[in-house]
Symmetry: C3
Subunit: 317 residues, 3 copies
């Protein structure tokens, strides 16, 4: 039997997503009692890029399921001696029962899955995908919309406007979330980014094929009135070849078009959600953290429960 | 209810300290049987400066209490992407039940506590404080004095002379220990340091206000005859702006005034204690490690039991 | 009682090795049921050089035995502040029940054992030894020869030709394995290396004293026909003073004499074993990974079971 890899959101149906959401909801409710226990399972986390949230979130989730965790980073591993990703994976598979992989190259998780006898979980592959982030994002959206009496599964033909801002080109989080949201009805997507950081045309094309309504604006101020979900991302300094290119964007007078401030929020719907995968930079001011519409730290919290659901799905095979 | 942070020794009464000492003593006695178990608790250690002792000591203590541990360092975390301490803490609070924080900036632990829903334990904030080190130091002092038939709690008006040497300006360990010892009766403090590394005047002023006897000497040889406890610290290279300033001290002919050698120990009381928070440099020669007065590795051992006492105090809430 | 250090293969008798092999075999058979459990034990891994396999393998083995693990690396420890190895070990001994040490200096594990109250396990000391790798290698040899109806313990006067290629000078793995294999009967050793990377003469002398047949060739093609076990190693870039010296070997037209290719394997015995401690570089092509004679990933798998056997031997004292 092939191992149950999690490489891309494209592998999920709407029902898969709902199943994950239901399971994560159970874990959140039963915070104190642990529903299931996998003391004989070991999770390996292999991170070739810095991370606080994703690696610790998986570790916390594994601990709550009673599992052990082995963590390696490129700083301490044999990749320092030139070992290929394939050889590392073929080695790590003997040390645990699933591998969480973050890697700077697009397609790395798929390459890893081709040689691994145990499940690979893609925790970010360059500017490719980040499926578990998308799952925790949609879990947060589902939960928060529910509080506003909206059922994401069936909105009753009520359109949901999701505005994506920031680095739409390189944000693997946004790429994964767009695909995942497209499984649900009545979505309208709005894209707002600096000219060089626009959403890849193949994603726009794919959404077009699915007859999803899409719009592009040059400023967040053009869309804020109608936005139900404002998904903000950071201009990622580490994705630019030179600092100069980065500052050309973040020091330009247009940069405010991609920034969330208390002033902007005064124009937003009272029911809106402000989301961000974190870490943030100056595009999302801490001044709004206490606004009830700001749910980005709820994303962090929900991440643990969603990853429990994901790991359980893998381990109970 | 507010979480039970441990930020500064100033928050402790004499009775608090005694309670920690008693609990740590119990843990040391019952080495094999574990008194309490917190398998559902996870400790997060977040170290933004190198550490062997403090981070591993907390990890060992957590394991002995049956807890899980998640460790992050600045090398592998999103602080690499410019994330603020506040955002990191607001994230980590969802992954565990307490956060042990070491940070190069004074006041960092307090800043962290302002945004955290779970207890913050200050494991060193720049040249600020290091309260858990002070607690394990006083635990060691208490225990070792007891072997010499002296009760630290009530010395019977017998004065205890504590000589502090080395980098009194930047040693957060000394700052915290001075405050903690000032809770106990009949203390005399002696300070010996290079001219640029003197104890901050506000601490001297505070001890003055408490009517604690204080003296300053230029050489350890002036104080060794009367010293009951010799607390030695390293000149911390990493606290100087340039190597030149560091070597101006450690290569000067006065440097021996701050160094412990077998020759010096021949002048010390037979009942004296030689302590050091470690790591050491050339100020404390390995030649004296086997002298019964050298208790710095007992500090290391006691550190595990004191940190068990601290964690238990936090987790049993 | 002295702690049970594992510093060198020289400390083992043939019966010791057989005992480890038998125990590791049991662990491999009983994969799902854990024979023994040491939940109160903590393993400390201290790695002063990069490693994936050895550190993770010990961690996985410890987890399978129910133990806890504390890991330190030089990047995050007080060795950054100039702490000596001795002081680090005298500290770490209070945090766990055994210390796995990898260090760039030959003799480091022995130095550590001189000051430690708990067992030190040498996981590689410079170009010295790597005894646990040699044990897992011989476990793999024993098991794979068994499948070929050869009993390593008593070959019935059938000679076993082991060809070692690559960096024979610096490969601590090879040094340890040669000593360990010399305990068994009917060994013939063949050495093939670039001129500057020959096996240290004291090892050749020692094997001579044991009347073991030894031969030196300049190319792997001279020996492949008779080889039962081909043990390949990497030219270790990190052991050269300059890149130039490294490339003088790996870019030379003679480099193919130390490389394993599908073409070479066509000349090898059908029953031969191809082994490698990994990580590999260009001396062992991934094209041969699926050849049944390639057992280097079995070495990885067996490493976990052998390390379980080693840890159990230490912990059950």
């Amino acid at each position: 039997m092939n191992p149950k890899h999690i490489l891309s959101v494209l592998q999920f149906t709407k029902n898969d997503v709902m199943r994950f959401i239901e399971r994560a909801t159970r874990f959140r409710q039963d915070r104190t009692t642990q529903l299931v226990q996998y003391p004989e399972k070991t999770l390996v986390t292999a991170f070739y890029e810095p991370s606080t949230r994703t690696s610790c979130s998986f570790q916390a989730a594994a601990y709550k399921l009673g599992c052990k965790v082995i963590s390696i980073t490129d700083k301490i591993s044999s990749s320092q001696k030139g070992e290929t990703l394939e050889d590392t994976i073929k080695t790590l598979q003997y040390y645990g029962d699933a591998i969480v992989l973050r890697h700077p190259e697009k397609g790395a998780a798929e390459r890893a899955s081709a040689v691994s006898n145990i499940p690979i979980i893609n925790a970010g592959d360059g500017n490719g995908e980040h499926p578990t982030q998308a799952l925790l994002d949609i879990f947060t959206i589902y939960t928060e919309l529910q509080k506003r009496n909206i059922d994401l599964y069936d909105t009753g033909r009520q359109p949901i406007t999701v505005t994506f801002t920031g680095d739409l080109k390189n944000s693997r989080t946004i790429h994964s979330l767009i695909y995942l949201l497209s499984l649900f009805p009545d979505m309208c997507f709005v894209y707002i980014s600096p000219p060089t950081l626009e959403l890849p045309p193949e994603i726009i094309q794919k959404m077009n094929d699915l007859q999803i309504q899409q719009q592009t604006y040059s400023s967040i101020y053009d869309s804020i009135y109608n936005t139900d979900i404002l998904y903000v991302t950071r201009i990622q300094k580490e994705r630019f070849a030179t600092e100069r290119e980065y500052f050309a964007i973040t020091l330009s007078h247009n940069y405010k078009n991609f920034c969330v401030t208390p002033e902007l929020l005064r124009l937003a719907k009272p029911s809106a959600l402000v989301m961000h995968p974190l870490p943030r930079s100056s595009e999302l001011l801490p001044e709004i953290d206490d606004d009830p519409r700001a749910v980005y730290f709820k994303q962090v919290e929900n991440g643990v429960y969603m990853r429990m659901a994901i790991l359980e799905d893998i381990f109970r095979q």
